[in-house]
Subunit: 366 residues, 4 copies
């Protein structure tokens, strides 16, 4: 048991703080013979990298990943893969004020209450920089999936910023890479840019909703009842910084459906069962149906804002705080590649887990 | 690693099928010296028991728990506690039709695709009867919590059935035990009874939302970054049958908040920090703040309904299905004690985990 | 993490005390589709059962196993298999004297010091009766192995009782089932019978060495560096009651060998590599070579003897103790089927683990 | 579950190959507030470091540890501690011959058969260099133990090289640091030096036995029945490269004892129970008695020797091999600090585990 690890067979342990020498991911259980190099992982880190546009933090980190172990002559060897990212832009003077004060809505106070010590520089371990390690591990997971289940495609995108939702009627997969919000609704991207610009200038921040879809996942992946695919996805997404809610398929809206409306009717297609709808989000009883796996999560607004908030000091005195420094007006944006990475890790893990328990002898229909 | 286990130090493994000889929970890691007997656990099982009113399945199971190990002279010994519930009312003829057909919205098809074999009687392992095991384990967890952190109170209640939400203005803790829905809004209880009666007679079902609150949890419980308190709670709730969404504090609505609105301001109270609000749901950075821990989850409608739905057979032929038998028009009702049980197990587990890593030397404020 | 569980994918959790209502094993992760019934497991329990001859305890327990879950129509379903053995012969008056006194060489005192409470009836959880649960789980593991790797044969036997070792020159596999000691040396069996008879009548006990061999295990099973096949076997055997030493291949005698003598030279056979010798015990770098896997463990003498020994009471007063009751003069005898069961569980677990990480694409030679 | 991790709450994951850029240990679950710096860890690495005398490999690695995370202002923060050691002396041309040939007695062939790929440079992941990571983690464990259980002292030493055992009558703790073999018998140290010198010059190698003792461990540490203290110690020691046997207390010799001889009689001392002897090696029922915890393990001779041995190539052709390069004539010597490190990690882990489940309310005697 490790509190900084996730996954059953493809097991990722992340380590490192925002302003220490480095951070990274120790990845154990990766299948051998996967073709991988640093560039293949770097592409995903670049997607998450800060400072790419005015809607993300202006901290400039190259976030260059190094493979320290587990890869030989361009292939994984089956032994642990160490992925390290050195910290380079550590303007720690920005954080002087939070040495003694707790930022409302931030983990400052709970780390202190738990450990009695805390690395206050940039949030230390509670910083969203930790998610770079996840993205690196996810890059490796994607390549392993490509070999084991080549039809799987994992795509994340934003569906809401603040009160502004996308119009599902405008959904266009090809738009996702075309705007800084990774949203499939081109019109929403324009509207959001204006909205967020005003917000950013006022020193405020806002929440968002991210949806991640895995297409082409074979039926039968997942394991009841406490390693369900949806259980593991819920844990994976909820573990991301600032996430406050996770939904599978209909999600919270399932409460409003009747049994008649909710039941995805089943038909027989050329290559197996097909469904009239996907309220289930591709998962029944914790096991994949072969439909799209649909996960959605809400990211709360950054707590580091330029508005004065009331708080207390470590010695218990009441005071006020403004968080200067370089922050994201909407951390939800950079959560998109993080959500994709977590999806990739969970899917790969369950592909291996299924193969371990059951091999290739799955139940056939028809 | 066990796919049917949850928890780190207080570790629960459930086993058993709906229509086998018995089901139960193997509970490892319980602290020794906890006063416990079967009646103390039975009270929680009785709360979940079917057939108590017309809104839950008419299957009549006494759900009588037996303690087979780990308790000596009325106290836990620190060794595994085996909690067994024998199945008695197994009218399996009701399930004949689903031997060969898959119920839409049910795990029938995915179990078949995964394992190539499935106990079709009453859903087998995928039946909600499995949750009786959780409630039994939760009963033990509550008694252990009482000894370790006596101020903790765990209470679940319904906040929504179908489209009908409670009015938070009517919230009254004392009402929760007064109606068959465990809802704190007496007016809602009346309205829901009428609504559900119509639905039940039509052979349909509907979803619901359950909220579980843990009051009195000390600050500092939880462990970043993959054993976060909210991560473990999300996994625990999502693992419950039919759950499709989990929220902490503001949940999905956090997406709509600005950073200014979301930040729970901090003041200094007599006994430590106090907050102006609880958008965070009592958890920051995965660690408890000392405020109420608030979790909410959506339960989808039962898939076993009296309406004809299109489906296929095991051999791939298209057909139709009506699920006769005795089912819940709203499984969300009986999910209330299950959600409470999962909350109890997670809280206890993290109390032990914290004590293991850190002992009593927590950080103090003021 | 569960302290009463072992195995990675094939995960066994045992529960129960010597004189409680029942004990058993919760087995998670078993492959589906394994043909199994109670009789197939019972045969192994019968081998371990007490009271079969004068060299084992005269306690008479039928040790009848019941399958409570995870099996449907004669096949495993892939969900947890609960194997329960009810306790029937609980002559607890025999144990009255040890309520307050600690038996030297027994876990009485440490359980008390750890938990502050202990089930003193028959040793409670520390009783060797717990090994019945292992044997039941091992019976299931054997059937699963039969399907996945049908050439594997697992056989245990005694090689030493007290100072009396077998003569390896007399080794005859067919003798193992022919004597109460499961020893391959017919002459040793005769000598030991006389030796043990004298010892038994004097109320004394003695230690033994058991060897367990797995033949036909494919090369490539095991996983460096902390889930090595030898690591897991060492843990599995050391976890058996009264075991004080574990050896792989040459074992402790490896200390006396030179590198030249120790290196098993490699040749090319019809079906892959062959070796000039097997000092390694079939494991190199934690991974199987395809040779016989050879594990040996020493069992200390029963601490429950009829000789007066000095001890203290729970309140710290010095006193003496004689342990009456029905005990084994050499617990090593009944440890043979237990060692076989642990070997079966470990081998199956690693077959699944290998398949999970690597599938069928192993390295080929030649 | 991670195959490269060990420990329950104090959890160590090692990574890295002999000739990659670096290797290290990711340590999760360390208590916060432990004073630590690189020098405090370096002292133990220096003890294990090669090239210190003519009896260990002449490879010259500074083995300089860097702390990359989890420590702030000289104290652990409770988050993962990353300990990295960069590889500097990578004379990989020495290993050219083993690209295609398998060294008898080495993991070359099994890694190939398992993974179908292997980093042949210096043995890759199977190299004893991996043990540097363990020693680093052990250094941290020692400091944490110092805070939690300050009386604990952990000391390893050699008791046998080849056929030459120490004379227990000469045992002198103060001698251990005075000779290159870390042996408490000064006479043996002299004899061994001559013996090993001859062996080394002939290009041969030899096995050894190492004993590790933990003094001052409080009674009550350990957890039946599969996380027993002796189980975890057996696994920890057996996981060390080249170890073939593990003993607790009497070890394999327990087979020769009668129950009367084996029972350590109990008396009442000033500070709790005392024992007439320690056949048990300080552990009963998997739980510490408060006596010295005594573990012994056998290390086989290095398989890399200058004698010609028969082997095969990757393509299955029979051939011969001589392993040139820089190797240890007796790897057992450098296994001493490794064994100490594993003991430290296991003891700390169980101190935390005990505190987690039970807190401070242990059973008292008298």
């Amino acid at each position: 048991m490790s509190m900084n690890s996730f996954g059953h067979l493809f097991r990722v342990t992340t380590w490192g703080e925002s302003h220490g020498p480095a951070l990274g991911a120790t990845v154990d259980g990766c299948p051998p013979g996967i073709t991988i190099d640093e560039a293949m992982i770097q592409q995903w880190l670049d997607k998450r990298k800060p400072g790419q546009n005015k809607f993300t933090t202006q901290r400039r980190e190259p976030d260059q990943v190094k493979i320290l172990s587990g890869v030989f002559e361009g292939q994984t060897t089956g032994t642990p893969v160490q992925l390290m990212i050195e910290n380079t832009d550590q303007r720690s003077k920005d954080y002087g004020d939070i040495m003694d004060k707790f930022r409302p809505g931030h983990a400052d106070i709970t780390y202190w209450q738990k450990y009695g010590i805390r690395d206050y520089r940039g949030g230390g371990r509670s910083s969203a920089r930790e998610t770079a390690s996840r993205v690196a591990a996810g890059g490796l997971a994607r390549e392993a999936i490509r070999q084991i289940a080549p039809n799987v495609q994992i795509t994340g995108y934003m569906t809401q910023i603040g009160p502004h939702k996308i119009d599902r009627g405008n959904f266009d997969w090809s738009q996702i890479e075309q705007n800084p919000f990774w949203t499939p609704d081109a019109q929403a991207a324009e509207d959001w840019a204006n909205y967020l610009d005003v917000l950013r200038k006022s020193g405020n921040s806002v929440g968002a909703i991210v949806e991640v879809v895995a297409r082409g996942v074979p039926a039968g992946i997942g394991a009841p009842v406490y390693a369900k695919l949806d259980t593991d996805l819920a844990a994976a997404m909820m573990s991301i910084n600032a996430v406050k809610g996770v939904e599978i398929g209909e999600g919270m809206a399932a409460a409003e459906l009747t049994g008649e409306a909710n039941a995805d009717e089943i038909f027989m297609g050329q290559n197996g069962p097909q469904y009239s709808s996907n309220h289930a989000g591709g998962i029944l009883g914790g096991i994949s149906t072969g439909q799209d796996i649909v996960v959605r999560f809400a990211v709360k607004p950054t707590s580091s804002i330029l508005t004065t908030r009331k708080t207390i000091t470590k010695s218990g005195e009441e005071t006020e705080i403004i968080t200067k420094g370089r922050h994201d007006p909407c951390v939800g944006i950079r959560a998109v590649p993080v959500g994709e990475a977590m999806m990739a890790c969970v899917i790969l893990d369950h592909l291996l887990l299924h193969r371990g328990q059951i091999g290739e002898n799955r139940g056939r229909i028809g």
